[in-house]
């Protein structure tokens, strides 16, 4: 084993141990619901994951935690979490198949789909990356333990598996910060990174409890409310019902979900300021203001399109579906209440695709390239154009998000935003091309394919119907890759792939 790979093992080992802990915790759900057939599967999954974690810690060697190390740990860690996180799907579905008398009515075709390992890995990758595209046809027929595991993966994945690991198994020294940053996070709430991630969990728990009770009050059964609060706040979008939130046919539930999805789209440091009563700083925050503007403008535009194309009979219906679907897409949640693929116009679908590609605030639970990068690029472009009108000796300030940047910082910020945006576009085009080759063009149109890939890469989960257990295996791999790169903001995965090809040499 190469020495550079061995230095990754201790951090990977801790991530796997945290994952094993999640599986052990889920046994409580199986016990509470009397689904005893699910418990051996969870125990086996936890034992395998823990053993691999233990071996990684045992045979790994500690090395310096630089940017390369952090990115490789993030990329490899998330891939392994997705693979091993599929074990509960695999083991529980096989238990139900091998002991039908024990599993009772749960041995359904929907659960049986998870006997194919790839479907479980797809579901797990979709869950941890907070995407929400699913291999489940009838979610309501799944055992409660599996429903919980799906929601739990999204809840943890929304905040981040490294954030989870740092919070409970803090790495000694300064390594935690590098790892934290490699998981597409940068803002700190406290000077200490461990304290920051613990506060993030504290905020997340407060909001999850509040969201659960809000959803229950507007009419959701309590089990559904718990799961949808977890997947809504983490902007994941898995549901425990057959047709996502459309199953309830209840506008009140949809309107109650909107503030939950918006909360998931706002950066955790801003939530901390808000909970601390610092409303002024929240109002001054550039990203938060732009999230508000972007959500409002996008919703109005989409409602206008639905009205223009007469998609629904009444303007109230257009308001209901347009508002909900734009916020669901732009917040990268993916709850679906409308038949987007079948009923909506091309322009409406492409508007949602753009919303999914952009995403909302950096430092929140959303996917996409993030609004702040789009703003940086827009300001950078304006600056470059207006530069021509000033003498070369002129000293001009570049301000973004309340910070005045030096020329070097401006170049760095613009470079980062350009690279992420370009990689986003390139990988989107690669995904679209691949999916076009893999799915039938008689059934799915170009806009359907664009929508599906944008949904996977933006970690959204809205679907035009392409994703499902019957999808070709190559298409599943392709969308999983898009989810993986999208969640980690492209660079860590490309760094890992480069390291695999060139052996980690600089």
């Amino acid at each position: 084993m190469s020495s550079s790979l061995r230095t990754l093992l201790p951090d990977i080992g801790r991530i796997l141990q945290a994952l094993a802990g999640m599986m052990v915790l889920s046994i409580v759900v199986g016990l509470l619901w009397g689904e005893l057939f699910a418990i051996p599967g969870l125990l086996i999954s936890a034992a395998i994951t823990y053993a691999l974690g233990y071996l990684s810690l045992r045979y790994g060697t500690r090395g310096s935690v630089d940017k390369l190390h952090g990115m490789m740990v993030a990329a490899l860690g998330w891939l392994l979490v997705a693979i091993l996180g599929s074990l509960p799907f695999l083991t529980i579905s096989w238990t139900a198949a091998l002991a039908p008398g024990w599993a009772g009515a749960f041995d359904t075709p929907t659960l049986a789909a998870f006997r194919h390992p790839l479907n479980g890995v797809f579901e797990s990758m979709s869950g941890f990356t907070g995407t929400g595209l699913t291999m489940s046809v009838h979610e309501n027929t799944l055992p409660r333990t599996i429903q919980w595991w799906r929601s739990f993966t999204e809840w943890v994945g929304g905040v981040g598996v490294i954030v989870l690991t740092t919070a409970i198994l803090a790495r000694p020294g300064s390594g935690s910060l590098t790892l934290y940053e490699s998981e597409a996070r940068s803002d700190k709430i406290h000077p200490s990174i461990v304290s920051t991630v613990r506060t993030i969990w504290w905020i997340f728990l407060v909001f999850t409890l509040v969201a659960t009770l809000l959803l229950w009050l507007v009419g959701m059964p309590i089990w559904d409310a718990i799961n949808h609060a977890m997947t809504g706040l983490s902007t994941g979008g898995f549901s425990v019902t057959d047709n996502s939130l459309a199953s309830y046919q209840e506008p009140l539930i949809e309107f109650a979900m909107i503030p939950i999805m918006i909360a998931g789209s706002i950066a955790f440091p801003i939530h901390y300021l808000l909970l601390s009563g610092d409303g002024r700083s929240v109002a001054r925050d550039l990203q938060t203001r732009w999230v508000a503007i972007y959500f409002s403008a996008g919703s109005i535009f989409l409602i206008g399109l639905l009205l223009h194309f007469n998609t629904y009979g009444t303007s109230l219906q257009s308001l209901r579906y347009g508002l909900f679907q734009f916020i669901s897409a732009a917040s990268c949640t993916g709850f679906q209440t409308a038949d987007i693929g079948g009923q909506w116009s091309v322009l409406s679908q492409l508007t949602l695709s753009a919303g999914m590609f952009i995403g909302a605030a950096a430092g929140s639970t959303v996917g996409g390239i993030k609004l702040i990068r789009l703003l940086t690029l827009a300001k950078g472009m304006i600056r470059r154009i207006s530069d021509v009108f000033y003498p070369e000796s002129a000293i001009r300030r570049f301000e973004i998000d309340g910070r005045t940047l030096t020329d070097t910082e401006v170049s760095k910020e613009l470079e980062e935003a350009s690279i992420i945006a370009l990689l986003g576009i390139v990988l989107l085009v690669v995904g679209i091309t691949g999916l076009l080759l893999l799915v039938s063009s008689d059934v799915y149109t170009l806009e359907n394919v664009v929508f599906e890939v944008a949904s996977a890469q933006g970690n959204v989960g809205l679907s035009t119907g392409i994703t499902g257990p019957a999808m070709p295996s190559a298409a599943k791999f392709l969308l999983m890759f898009n989810m993986w790169v999208g969640r980690l903001e492209f660079i860590p995965v490309l760094v890992l792939l480069r390291a695999l090809v060139y052996g980690g040499s600089r």
């Binding site: 304290s195 613990r198 506060t199 969990w201 504290w202 728990l205 407060v206 409890l209 509040v210 659960t212 009770l213 809000l214 229950w216 009050l217 309590i222 089990w223 718990i226 808000l274 909970l275 601390s276 009563g277 610092d278 409303g279 002024r280």
Partner: protein, 81 residues
């Protein structure tokens, strides 16, 4: 009011066995706002109560009260700041 609740939360975290998930979570998370700490402590109990009793005037009233405390405290902190 806030300090009284902080004392109650602090007493609870000392008196209640730390194997109770929400209590051990609070001591793990460190010192935060006592009202939100109280919501973290009582939230799971309320959800359990709802799961056991179902939708009735008592559980509905408690859930409304819970949300009012959250919104009220949030607004109060923003205004007083």
């Amino acid at each position: 009011m806030s300090s009284a609740i902080a004392t109650i939360v602090s007493l609870l975290t000392q008196l209640v066995p730390t194997d109770l998930a929400s209590v051990s979570f609070l001591s793990w998370a460190g010192d935060r706002d006592p009202i939100y700490d109280l919501l973290i402590l009582t939230g799971p109990i309320l959800i359990l109560l709802i799961a056991l009793l179902g939708r009735m005037w008592l559980t509905t009233g408690l859930a409304i009260g819970y949300l009012l405390v959250f919104v009220g405290h949030l607004l109060h902190s923003i205004i007083s700041e």
